[in-house]
């Protein structure tokens, strides 16, 4: 069992209250940072830790912080991205619900490092009950002098607010989030300028994920060097993994980065094996936008090495034989699941969530959904598979924000690894639409 940085006290009764949270060491990082460290020293510790953004992109957090422009007389902002909407991802919601003060503490320490005097937590509107929990924690922090004016007598002031979204996956993209936080449609902005130069209200802004910010207090308390000792290679520290799908124990697990994938799926400490004693068919390891991998490639790389839960190992082989750690949303498919149906389902999601700003995304996601729907429902044409590959290629890399890539990758990967299932659906329209016609890819042998 690895070190629990984020979840050590998660099941302590009353940990959501300030009193219990402080009894277990809460807010020590705020006191340490404000009383003994300069903002630059906090940034340096985060750089040393090797912490990478936990929202999906995996960009080094300390480096992102150091890009923040610091013009005189202009406010700076820290915005927490709590718009967790990627299918398969539910770690941030779970964490905020269970341990809200850990995020508040991270926001204070991080805001100090960045020189922000007003910070926001942008949370998806569907999680209004979590917003209430956070607001209660923030009110407690204000009452205790941990927020507001002159925190710990340091002369540092900070106001922290929570803002709800309105139901739009695109608002997880940082510039769309900023548009939404300004009360507009969540249309992504062109970059540059990047938020570090012109972000919220045209001021320098850092946008970080919930888990990223919640990791900062441990780094400040224990040093970045200690954090960097955990994990493997450039995948330092621990990671929250949301595990779902056909496994015995869906849930959120904190792992040391570098745990073997096989151990994560089959050990009782984590997923507990495949549901109902079935065989593993495939895994989407990092949220619905990352490429799916068949069982043999999620357990071992193309070179035959053990696949690990780390940024590098999961991406080993590029998209030909690898995938991504992404947000750490691990979706498991058993042998009965239909890849075509699942691909259509995700395609519908991305079509629904495209903001419509870029033509390749707006039109392409609709095309892909339509073609996948007709294949799934027994009306596919032989040329449809290549058509899907072509449309995915034309979307990828041709949009303002990464939603286009997120829509294209799952389709391209499903065809790359499970082309036989798409072909089977097209060749056997009647069986494809029959109830209970599952694991269709292997039915070719008996129905051809």
């Amino acid at each position: 069992m690895g070190l629990k940085i984020l979840t050590e006290h998660i099941n302590v009764p009353g940990i959501e209250t300030l009193e219990v949270y402080r009894k277990h060491g809460g807010y020590k990082s705020v006191e340490k940072a404000l009383k003994t460290m300069s903002p630059e020293e906090v940034v340096e510790e985060v750089k040393t830790s090797g912490l990478r953004g936990r929202g999906g992109a995996g960009f080094p957090t300390g480096m992102k912080w150091s890009f923040l422009a610091k013009p005189e007389g202009v406010p700076r902002y820290l915005v927490c991205n709590a718009d967790e909407s990627e299918p398969g991802t539910f770690k941030d919601r779970w964490f905020m619900e269970k341990n809200p003060h850990a995020l508040v503490e991270g926001m204070i320490t991080s805001s100090y490092a960045l020189g922000a005097n007003t910070s926001y937590i942008y949370i998806r509107g569907e999680l209004m009950f979590v917003l209430r929990i956070l607001e209660k924690a923030i009110a407690e922090a204000y009452a205790a002098g941990l927020l507001g004016k002159n925190i710990f007598g340091s002369g540092y002031d900070l106001d922290l607010h929570v803002a709800p979204g309105g139901g739009a996956y695109i608002c997880g993209e940082e510039t769309a989030l900023l548009e939404s936080l300004e009360g507009k449609r969540g249309n992504p902005r062109n970059k540059p300028p990047f938020p570090a130069v012109k972000g919220l209200f045209q001021s320098p802004t850092v946008v970080n994920n919930v888990e990223t910010i919640a990791s900062v207090p441990w780094i400040v308390n224990n040093t970045g060097a200690e954090y960097a000792k955990i994990g493997i290679g450039r995948s330092t520290g621990t990671k929250l993994i949301s595990a779902s799908g056909n496994i015995n124990k869906p849930g959120v697990y904190e792992i040391d980065l570098g745990v073997p994938v096989e151990e994560f799926i089959y050990s009782d400490e984590y997923c507990g094996g495949i549901w109902k004693g079935k065989q593993l068919k495939a895994v989407v390891p990092g949220g619905s936008s990352v490429p799916i991998l068949p069982a043999e490639l999620i357990l071992k790389t193309a070179a035959g090495e053990q696949r690990l839960m780390s940024y590098e190992s999961l991406s080993d082989g590029g998209f030909v034989s690898g995938s991504m750690l992404g947000s750490g949303a691990f979706i498991v498919f058993d042998e009965d699941q239909c890849i075509v149906r699942n691909t259509w389902n995700y395609s519908r999601f991305y079509h629904h969530e495209s903001c419509g700003q870029c033509s390749p995304c707006r039109e392409g996601t609709g095309w892909m959904e339509k073609v996948l729907h007709r294949i799934e429902y027994g009306h596919g044409h032989p040329q449809d598979i290549d058509l899907l590959v072509s449309v995915a290629k034309q979307i990828e890399g041709n949009t303002i924000c990464p939603l286009g890539d997120a829509a294209a990758w799952p389709v391209a990967a499903a065809i790359r690894h499970f082309r036989d299932e798409f072909e089977w659906h097209i060749k056997h329209p009647r069986e494809a639409t029959a109830p209970g016609a599952v694991y269709r890819g292997q039915l070719d042998a008996v129905t051809a």
């Binding site: 406010p75 967790e84 909407s85 990627e86 299918p87 398969g88 991802t89 539910f90 941030d92 919601r93 007003t118 926001y120 998806r124 509107g125 569907e126 999680l127 209004m128 009950f129 209430r132 106001d159 607010h161 803002a163 709800p164 979204g165 309105g166 139901g167 739009a168 996956y169 939404s180 936080l181 300004e182 009360g183 507009k184 449609r185 969540g186 209200f201 949301s242 595990a243 779902s244 799908g245 056909n246 869906p250 849930g251 959120v252 619905s288 949303a329 979706i331 498919f333 699941q337 149906r341 699942n342 389902n345 995700y346 999601f349 629904h352 969530e353 903001c355």
Partner: protein, 177 residues
């Protein structure tokens, strides 16, 4: 129910909450409070936002009505036509489907005798399939207002859920308590 702008009146508790959200933003940036205010308006006026309500929101924020319309129509959480007493927002996305979300939607359609997007004849339920609700490990699930109902994975649980909801009043939002 077609109100005129002057007939749309927020309660004192709602107005206090609106002012609280506006105070979170720098002077002149009050439009930032638009989304939270639309949530408050929806809770205040029967679960949906009419054009008259949106006009009132524009008036409160001192912005143009079009600025409210374009936002309310972009985000999926805002209902632009009347809905039933309980809006059942059922997650229909991949991970929930691996645990039976498709079946849950079909069962609800049969039991309520409605299609997706429709309201039951008694005005009690509106069925609204939605995309991922960050409850992938506890699917199939649905949301009613601010409450998640998870692991609804059998017909018996659907029956129990509907029975409970039929006798349930909406919970009062925290800001109005």
């Amino acid at each position: 129910m077609a109100e005129t702008l002057n007939e749309v009146t927020f309660s004192d508790a709602a107005m206090a909450e609106i002012q609280r959200y506006i105070s979170h933003y720098p002077e002149g940036r009050q439009k930032s409070a638009l989304l939270p205010i639309l949530h408050i308006a929806q809770a205040e006026f029967g679960g949906w936002v009419s054009p008259e309500v949106m006009d009132k929101v524009a008036q409160i924020l001192d912005i143009q009505p079009i600025e409210v319309y374009e936002v309310a129509t972009f985000y999926t959480m805002f209902n632009l036509k009347p809905v039933g007493k309980h809006v059942l927002e059922v997650c229909r996305t991949g991970p929930c489907c691996l645990r039976g979300a498709d079946q849950l939607i079909e069962t609800l359609k049969q039991k309520l005798n409605i299609e997706e997007g429709e309201t039951s004849a008694d005005g009690m339920f509106t069925l609204k399939p939605v995309e991922c609700l960050a409850s992938c490990g506890t699917g199939p699930m649905l949301q009613v207002r601010e409450v998640f109902y998870e692991n609804i994975d059998s017909e018996q649980r659907v029956d129990e859920f509907l029975e409970m909801m039929r006798s349930k009043e909406h919970e009062t939002p925290t800001w109005a308590q």
